[in-house]
Amino acid sequence: MKSLLKGVLGALAIAALSTTALAETKLTIATVNNGDMIRMQGLTDDFTKANPDITLEWVTLEENVLREKVTTDIATKGGQFDVLTIGTYEVPIWGKKGWLVPLTQVDDPADLLPAIAGGLTVDGKLMAAPFYGESSMVMYRTDLVEAAGEKMPDAPTWDDIKRIAGKITNKDKEIYGVCLRGKAGWGENMAFITATSNSFGARWFDENWKPQFDSPEWKDALNFYLDLLKTDGPPGASSNGFNENLALFNAGKCGMWIDATVAASFVTGKESTVADKVGFALAPDKGLGKRGNWLWAWSLAIPAGTQKEEAAQKFIGWATSKHYTELVASKEGWANVPPGTRTSLYANPEYAKVPFAKMTLDSINSADPTKPTVKPVPYVGVQFVAIPEFAGLATTVGQIFSAALAGEKTADEALAEAQDAATREMTKAGYIK
């Protein structure tokens, strides 16, 4: 027993020592387990060679776990991280609260795509540097569309999508016309449904923060979404998120998939069985002047109160630089560089050869976070509403819509429940007096 005690105490002592005795500056970087982030972890030698006094320690987590940990930590000033990976939703809220340090060493800030940089700027200061940006677009199987006797327009309408999906679907062969997100979550099905609803002219709130789920636009949008997925979607659509759909598409089971532009490099990559048969088109519209695409950027930021701000600034500068882009290109090819952040990347003739480059840029440029939908709104954000209450509310609404997709309730019931939930939440939070 004594030796066990000694062992435990010894292990504790070693653990305590090793954290203090090592390297001068150790950056703890919280990041999400997306492909581009994992790739960066393999390339950090380039950074540490140039900065031998800095060591990097990665905390790689699944998106939701990461968000919860980082939010808890920054809100309680726990100080566990020096660099955070956060999205376009958090930056304006946290920036306004003074929880983030303005970035000073970002490589050529004027080169950042205005649509992306705009969402990361608070009071004229860049609070987070985009690591990769994304919009959403249609990815489709050229062979299946052709076999159906159709042609995909570069800028399709929702009616085109519906018609083509209907022709492709062949449930006996497990080919489904369209794969869309159905898994409940504000960053999962609600990202897609909100962006889609924008193109139908719907909005979350009117100018007085009154929820709008009782509007005819929402009714059209939700009915269309449910109908499309129920007739031409895969089984289990209500638990499919980005990853599940990616797996389905790569396995050749989806005719079309409307999702994040970053997926393009995966569906044309080596793990895809359909890599040479993929075409791209803009997200669909309804003829109302707004397309159903979103805008998001996974970005790096520094929490206020870190002792290691200087090193963190240096690291973010490196990770979001043109130099890093070239490094990835030289090692892994142009198709694998983090997309959607810089004008110069899209001016590069090498990158222009990548099949999805132009469509990604066009998609990003056609999204406007300040005017997301047809009617005026009091909020910023395309597929989200940049207020602290949104994540919780949209998760609840996402669960309701996901249940509707699973056939547990009708679209009307779902909308009524969503309206109630939103009214409750907004009243509780004091938006509705």
């Binding site: 609260k97 409940a184 895969p234 289990g236 638990s239 602290p388 919780g392 249940a403």
Partner: protein, 302 residues
Amino acid sequence: MATQQSRQLGRLAVAPSVVALFLWMIVPLAMTIWFSLLRYNLLDPNYACSLLTPGQLFDEANRCFAGTSNYYYFLTDPAFFKAMANSLILVGWVLLISVVGGTLLALLLDQAIMGRNIVRLMVIAPFFVMPTVSALVWKNMMMHPVQGFLAWITKSLGLGAIDWFAHYPMTAIVIMVAWQWLPFATLILLTALQSFDEEQKEAAQMDGTPPLSFFWYMIVPHLARPVTVVVLIETIFLLNVFAEIYVSGSGGRAGNLPFLVYQYGLISNDIGGASAGGLIAVVLANIVAFFLMRMIGKNLEG
């Protein structure tokens, strides 16, 4: 028998554990009660209410104090009753499956079978699997409607793929959780069976006592006590099942009370609401525990 002195010593020996658990209970509890009375959203500019000195708080009372509104909103949330029902369904079904299934399995494993040790290893294995891994495995490898193994079986049988998490989320959760706790029940009941007097068993066989009545009049009373233990321990853990629901992403429809509290606290960042919800959950859990003790507690006496 116990002298005055040994009583005192006994108290002294019990003291550290009581103090430790009392602190572990009372400090978070006090803070939770305090937070439940505040408007405290982690992301809200007003969050600093919880950090103010009493004097400042007095000045800012209007802004900070939520009164009972956190409790009001939690109790009137339509999700609350569903979560409560889900909690009870989950606990009830898993208990039923593990007690009935565990008894049958224990009886089976108590027979003279070949390779009993290996069989026992296989049966108890799920108890060692961490809940997060179990949820990932069931969700992705077994119950996935396209790539899942169960989908392949049902399709081969001509039944078509069952989309577990979309159509039967509660069933799916019950299966996952029961898979983990059935082995635990089996283990305890098997131990109890093996302690059963061999001579009695043989005597009963000699007498030609029919197996069913032997089971009913001899084995069932013998198992009453271990079953009580299984029910008690499992209830404590089952009331707080979280990882399985969280990881499988079925919190929307199969979410229980802990999951709802989580949704308030970590998705909405509404610490005030989550604190109120946590306290309500504790009260309800203790009510369940109280009735449970009333019903089965006498088996533990003696």
